[in-house]
Symmetry: none
DNA sequence: GATGAATGAGGGTTCATTCAT
DNA sequence: GATGAATGAACCCTCATTCAT
């Protein structure tokens, strides 16, 4: 079997499954075990399929979907070119499956967030940390979503737009809730939602993902502070 | 001449020259006239070259650089395939030229900003409006820069990274200055710089560029407010 | 399957394998059988590859390497354009492989020559016949080597120069040996080596390869005589 | 005007005209003056034409006719692409003109050779020196003739074959004459003619043209010796 | 007489996809 | 279930040639 040339520089566990956060970020249990358990039950066929998906995830995120070759993917896995097409109708299908399973996992996260988020908590901090963790734990998918945002293929585009809209609506909803509770000032929640998410995304991809020696906790705190207070020298509004 | 299939959905003037803001955003004169005047003086060769560049700008922004075909570009212009290669060494050269002329224009903008920005003004508002205007006037280049951020080609990648770093450094510098002047609270200016720029970029591309009936001024004001005050219900810090 | 346009005018067996003389010229057995036997064992893939190489050999020798199109080659074989690139990295690789296998075969010949050449024999006759046979059995490769001697590609050039230098050194070495044994007069062996090889090459390509009704044995004897005695009317030096 | 990249390493005077030996090699007068005189009379148009031909000669000899670009040639001269086609119907016409003027010049040489060659002289030496000088003084055309011997274009091929046949017939004729005079032993003059010319050509191109510090006179003497005596240790037949 | 912008046919090469095994 | 040889459409790019100026 040929050796892979791809460098694994992210903290991903390099498994399509694990790249998808089935568990909530607030869960402290090790979800890996569950996945591992499930993995054990995978048939040989399912294993191959999963390996291909894992490899596709990495290759797509590194070379971009269009430039990524099926040959790159199968070389990574060590299977034949045709095997890819036994498991997936075409290249696009694999990408769509990756994206969809990511979104499915997200929906599970939402339930947890909604249920566990304490309204008295520092919502900005919680939200930022959740989104940041989400992106950090799914570096590859994050990259793909970022890079393919304007992919010429309409289906892919739509799917990714869905993800962004989802985040925006989450933020908007949280802000509206905060306003009703009196912990958020009056504002255009739609615009603010986009702004907050964009802020977090940029920081995750520019600082947390790219810079090696970065204090993640420090970065997240700074963002939360920015979200809460803005840049002006006022007393901490929480005080 | 063959008919173009590309849809011109953006508000760009669809001219490589006009896409590049040679004049400062603070200038209220209509620079278009000047550019038009210059255009009159273009030789036939230069006209062809410009037309190709204009078409390349659109095609690159719509299909992505790698998926964009030279044949798409020349079909748009109505010239032969070879004509592209008479004017540009290769596809990449055209992209690099577009990016570089954009960056050159930016540098001119900077000088104006530095010279004209009143420290007593609402810096966040001025900065946001400047960046937003810059991006809005160069929708296509903005799209390209956004889409090719992780292009596999190292040269392209570097060029675009340069652009982002430039914006980040601008924001960081403005924040540091504000801190020294006492109009900005103490913070990690590097992180905040990335956050502020990311916020603006997201809003421009998600709201201003994509949504038709958007009150640009309203959006920019909201962002400035967010930057100044954050989301918390404090009294306006400027008061 | 499309019809070939290439005319097979040479006496080549038109097989990349048979073009390469695996057996020594002094062997009287028919090596073709052995090669045929081996051919039987070739997998379908190897057969395709061999067919492409055979066709490339002919096309390269007829049109010249640079003018030869991959499409010519695959049309000859009856496979798709892509099939060529499945088997060979590029056009050059196929050429280099042809040249290298020829040179490898040569090295085997050398061992035989060195081992079997009787110093008491008419060395000039043996050498001439060996080189002439080598070239005659590999007409196409001979043509290629002749035509691409000054190919702009440095790698190709070097490879072919190697072949010529090899022949020159062989001749030089033989002459030096003859001088030590007293059967060759004192001379500048380096110059003489080039002269002898050039003489043989010219005759092979001008007379043996091109003229149909030529008595090969007669030609070779005439050359040997020339090499031994020159043109002057002296008594046969061997007498 | 762009600078040329071509290295002028040969001893050519780098003039299409001077590359063609209008004067016999045995003439000791400086024919350059005559040519120069003629040059003076060239109209500007004729000068341009000549310059293009000169450049074509060099480019063809260095890159090979097929790989040579018209753009290379005109860049060398410093004229526009179209200028080439004003003076020559196409690329091939320029090559054919170069070859033809070379052959015309040859015919003039022949008359001189035939008239001046002393039958009592060392004919081999005279013939070798004449051919060698001819090739050395026309390095570029020599290269072209050597490289394009098997050019796929039939017209070019034929023209070059003509040159070789001419040389062969010259040698054959000289040998037949020598035989009649009793200064050459009985032999197959046709084969010997090819052999003698091939010997000289190889040595010129392998040793004299390529190796820098080569004693041309020594090389020519060695060849003559080889032609006269062969390789065997006989007493000098001339004694 | 010369120009040089423009042409377009054609070449090498890539790669997603198919299908017989 | 997996293979991998084969495919062929499509792309980037080259360059001899044309023609309006």
């Amino acid at each position: 079997m040929k050796q892979s040339n791809l460098k694994n520089t992210s903290q991903d566990t390099f498994s399509a499954s694990s790249d998808i956060p089935i568990s909530s970020v607030s869960m402290n249990k090790t979800p890996m075990n569950e996945i591992a358990d499930i993995s054990e039950k995978l048939s040989k066929k399912e294993m191959t399929r999963k390996k291909i998906l894992d490899a596709a995830l990495i290759v797509f995120s590194q070379k971009g979907y269009d430039k990524a070759n099926v040959s790159d993917i199968v070389r990574e896995v060590g299977v034949a070119q045709g095997t890819f097409y036994y498991h997936f109708k075409d290249k696009k299908t694999a990408l769509v499956e990756l994206l969809n399973s990511f979104f499915d996992a997200m929906k599970k996260l939402v339930a947890n967030w909604a249920a566990t988020t304490d309204t008295s908590a520092d919502m900005a901090l919680v939200f930022s940390r959740n989104v940041a963790d989400l992106l950090r734990k799914n570096t590859c998918l994050g990259q793909i979503i970022r890079n393919e945002t304007n992919n010429p293929d309409p289906e892919i585009r739509l799917l990714i737009k869905e993800f962004h809209n989802y985040l925006y609506r989450q933020a908007e909803f949280a802000l509206l809730l905060g306003m009703r509770l009196g912990v958020v000032r009056e504002m255009d929640a739609r615009i603010a939602g986009v702004a907050l998410v964009g802020m977090i995304e940029s920081v995750v991809f520019e600082l947390i993902d790219r810079v090696e020696d970065v204090d993640v906790e420090h970065v997240i705190k700074e963002i939360s502070e920015m979200q809460n207070r803005g840049i002006r020298p006022t007393p901490d509004p929480r005080s």
